[in-house]
Symmetry: C2
Subunit: 552 residues, 2 copies
């Protein structure tokens, strides 16, 4: 098997070749769709500065193929991105200097929606917001899944990165079916092995012959220009729930309970179990006097904030969808299983209207304090938490919202904006996302690897436990740091590296990595990366598409 | 991209090289684990005679790697098979003459069973019967899925061929997680991209970096020597059901109903909707006077047999697993949805004991006619159908049984044996299995392509509609023919070819093909096959492993 060095730290092309390639690209896509090195794009919330050679914005799949062919001829590398919103994982930043970003935001067509079979075919530039609004308008009987990330993110891009949503369709790569891919040769191939206009392209995931779609997820083996995504038939009934764990020492038991609820198909939505810092990061902000002065809240401040906002040390939410009777059954099972462990709250459409009414009345000053007092007395929650309820309910049924991205501004010097955009606002955040078998033992082991290191490096321990499937839980941590503070940034980078080494040494892999950490895969899984590099050599010997992506 | 001819019709190696390779293999695996051309193995129920160069039976994954390396050095090709029970799809027959069958039946270790996380890791020689008995003895709290094929088939082999079972874990490739693969180079790689002893190897299907497991399904890109398979936590309650459709014209409506039941997660098991010929092939046999005289029963005989056995033109069965209340809810939904369309019968453990008691009493001659009369009067079923009930119930909860393979002997000159083995008994059968989007329109279109061709070529129309996923239905047809009759065999082959051309022309792909039909993929999906061949060239430039498999 051929061994190829990663391009990490190397340049992807000489400046002349890049300049000439951009000129040729302008001839293909139009001069107004090509840009030189782009400051906004090379700005990423992860501490991983790379020089971007330029940006090209093709408008059609055919233009993508032409650009790829031209790049191959000229020996320059392309770094495809769908919308560039991969915040905290590297955004649009390439793995090697001087790559040209192949930006697909202009490929924003929803090509087909099949109501009976509940799927949509779209281009990679289609955003969550766009799909959500399109379905609401034209196909109200179809629901979708979304992440709690930005509504401006790409549906296809997130699925190819194997992102996670909130419903029983949360495994976004799992609901991807049927890709059209531009290979490094410029050839276009449809996955699935079907005949022309294959009827099951978007309904039969595995196709016939080897299943190859996986090759184009978390990889640079091709540029996906069309993809099928499975949608959810609107359920008869939908109820969301939240649960506040009373005692932290019950966390291991809770992990076991969640696994059983999932394995036994009682709760099939992707439960998100979050710690206090996650909740507070969304609804609150650092006390003004601490902003810029610390990168980790003192325990006493955290205690005080938990009490003020009514935030539990651990809480989780999820959605129940189905017929009225199946939802009723699942509610009863949840109540039975979680009895005595904490506070379980259900929110159905009726209760939601109640909350919305309270929030409306609250706008009148003379009612606000009365309502706030009542909510605090009955639910133990602050007004901010009341505001969060409809947002949580919405995202759990697949309505994207800007609301949760506000977490990025927890330590920021600016208040949380309406439309959160950490790259624009120069916010520092890096996800570190190992995955563990969903047993108390494994999940606690990963937590106990990460928690003391966050403490030692002086960062708030932000962690969400996400059900990836009934057997696996993502331990999603986030390092929030001040990018303008060089010391803090380098400390964040050191923590990130240390977390990677420590979890890897203990036998845990990441479910997805930031671009900055991809090259390490070659060390931890040499045979695997060698296999992928062999495939890369056959499909893309010139390293045209995304060199260095996931180590290949 | 390199273009490579299929090896179809070609020879895989010269006789001297094959002989010398077998001698070297004997040094690796022991002389008693190597055989020359094997008559039993080259006998296949499909009309596809190929010369087998020999058979090698390695005993460990390390021996597999050594054999593969030796084959590469000597320029001979290997055709891996797990148990050789791929009946009706080509059994162990290679795609090209003189390949050496790499038989993995001695790799029969169950390496790990994880009760909490509900998975097992095993070698490819482990059979359904072996796993079923092992779980019953050591892990009674874990159930498995199986096909209605032979209990002697390989669990891993079936999953790699993307076979279909009967429960909500029916998508066998979908429940495969974590492979160890010997590549053509002899290198061994674990999928998933994890560090050594990765904790999520068998719980996180996609791993990190490109998902490559799909490359080793329906392909010859490597030899899988270990695999993880997800198991089912024993449910609190299990009920099986069967449904007889009253009027054939309601079939399209039934397809729509089944899709909705699946999409809405009311019935999540893989429903098998079968026609009269399928039912009769299992419980009955051709009238003696017609055996050897016709390859298609006259309509009047079929009418008479349906009446005698109490077989509907269309019927389906499925299982409901879960808590008592979720099963009760699903029963009610099924009753509501199917009301007025036919007869719905549930079989729980209590009713099952009743049936078993009836079958026991029936052994006394003076009771038999009384019971038979009662069963016919109440259920409209013959004693043979009563016998089938516990078998159906068992297979729907994942207990493998020889019972259903008896269908192969429908037209045979010998009575149905206890232990069915169509290859041994020289039975002719070929599966032809296109897949359609699960709408009435698509499924009926495929049926109307196939049905008249079976009639025109003079074969009984054997068809089962299998839910592959909530959006796709396999239209599984079977051509039953007499292998000793050359004219009938060549007519069966002609029908097989014609079905392939006609469905492909209409835009339908197959979910899995017989070895005899694999080379056609290169014509119907040239870009796709070209992609796979590029990958093959990088991993296996010497065409060591399974040349010609699925066109690559």
């Amino acid at each position: 098997m051929t061994q190829v060095d990663t391009n990490d730290g190397r340049s992807s092309g000489n400046p002349d070749a890049v300049r000439e390639a951009l000129a040729e690209f302008a001839g293909i896509v139009g001069a107004n769709h090509v840009r030189g090195s782009d400051d906004a794009l090379s700005r990423s919330s992860t501490p991983y500065p790379k020089r971007i050679g330029g940006v090209v914005y093709p408008g059609t799949p055919e233009e993508v193929a032409e650009v790829v062919r031209a790049a191959g001829r000229r020996g320059v590398s392309l770094w495809p991105c769908s919308r560039g919103r991969n915040w905290g994982y590297g955004s649009a930043t390439p793995a090697s200097d001087d790559s040209i970003v192949l930006h697909l935001e202009r490929l924003d067509k929803i090509l087909e929606v099949n109501e009976k079979l509940a799927y949509a075919v779209m281009e990679p530039g289609v955003t969550y917001r766009q799909l959500s609004e399109y379905l609401a308008k034209h196909h109200p009987n179809l629901w979708m899944d979304c992440t709690d990330g930005t509504p401006g993110g790409s549906v296809v891009g997130n699925a190819l990165d194997r992102g996670l949503g909130t419903t029983h369709y949360a495994d976004h790569f799992g609901t991807l079916c049927g890709l059209e891919v531009v290979l490094a040769s410029g050839d276009v191939v449809r996955t699935g092995g079907g005949p022309p206009d294959c009827k099951t392209w978007n309904t039969h995931k595995w196709g016939v012959g080897p299943y190859v779609e996986g090759l184009f997820s978390q990889s640079g083996l091709g540029v996906v220009v069309k993809a099928g995504i499975w949608l959810i038939p609107k359920p008869e009934s939908f109820v969301s729930f939240t649960f506040d764990l009373a005692n932290e020492q019950d966390l291991p038991r809770l992990v076991e309970i969640i696994r059983e609820l999932q394995l036994r198909q009682i709760v099939t939505s992707a439960v998100h179990l979050i710690n206090d810092v996650v909740s507070l990061a969304v609804v609150a902000q650092y006390p003004a006097e601490l902003v810029g002065r610390t990168s980790r809240l003192p325990e006493s401040v955290l205690d005080e904030m938990r009490a003020r906002y009514g935030v539990a040390r651990w809480s989780f939410g999820g959605g129940l969808m189905g017929s009225s009777s199946s939802v009723r059954f699942a509610r009863a099972e949840l109540r039975r299983t979680l009895r005595g462990l904490g506070r379980l709250t259900f929110l159905d459409e009726f209760a939601l209207r109640g909350v919305e009414l309270l929030l409306k009345w609250r706008r009148r000053p003379w009612l606000a304090s009365l309502i706030d007092g009542g909510v605090k007395a009955v639910f133990g929650k602050s007004p901010e938490m009341l505001h969060a309820a409809p947002e949580v309910h919405g995202v759990l049924r697949g309505i994207p919202s800007d609301y949760f991205v506000r977490h990025a501004y927890f330590k920021a010097r600016i208040p949380k904006p309406e439309s959160a955009h950490p790259d624009r606002d120069n916010i520092g955040l890096t996800w570190f996302a190992p995955i563990a078998p969903m047993t108390a033992e494994h999940v606690m082991e990963v937590l106990e690897i990460c928690r003391p290191r966050f403490e030692r490096f002086g960062f708030d321990f932000y962690v969400a436990l996400l059900v990836q499937n009934p057997r696996s839980m993502i331990v999603l941590t986030c390092i929030l740091f001040e990018k303008e503070d060089a010391e803090e940034t380098s400390r964040a980078q050191a923590l990130y590296d240390e977390l990677g080494s420590a979890t890897t040494a203990a036998g845990y892999q990441q479910y997805r990595t930031a671009t900055a950490g991809m090259h390490k895969l070659a060390n931890s899984a040499p045979q695997f990366v060698s296999l992928v590099r062999s495939i890369r050599e056959s499909l893309d010997p010139g390293h045209v598409i995304a060199p260095g992506k996931y180590g290949a």
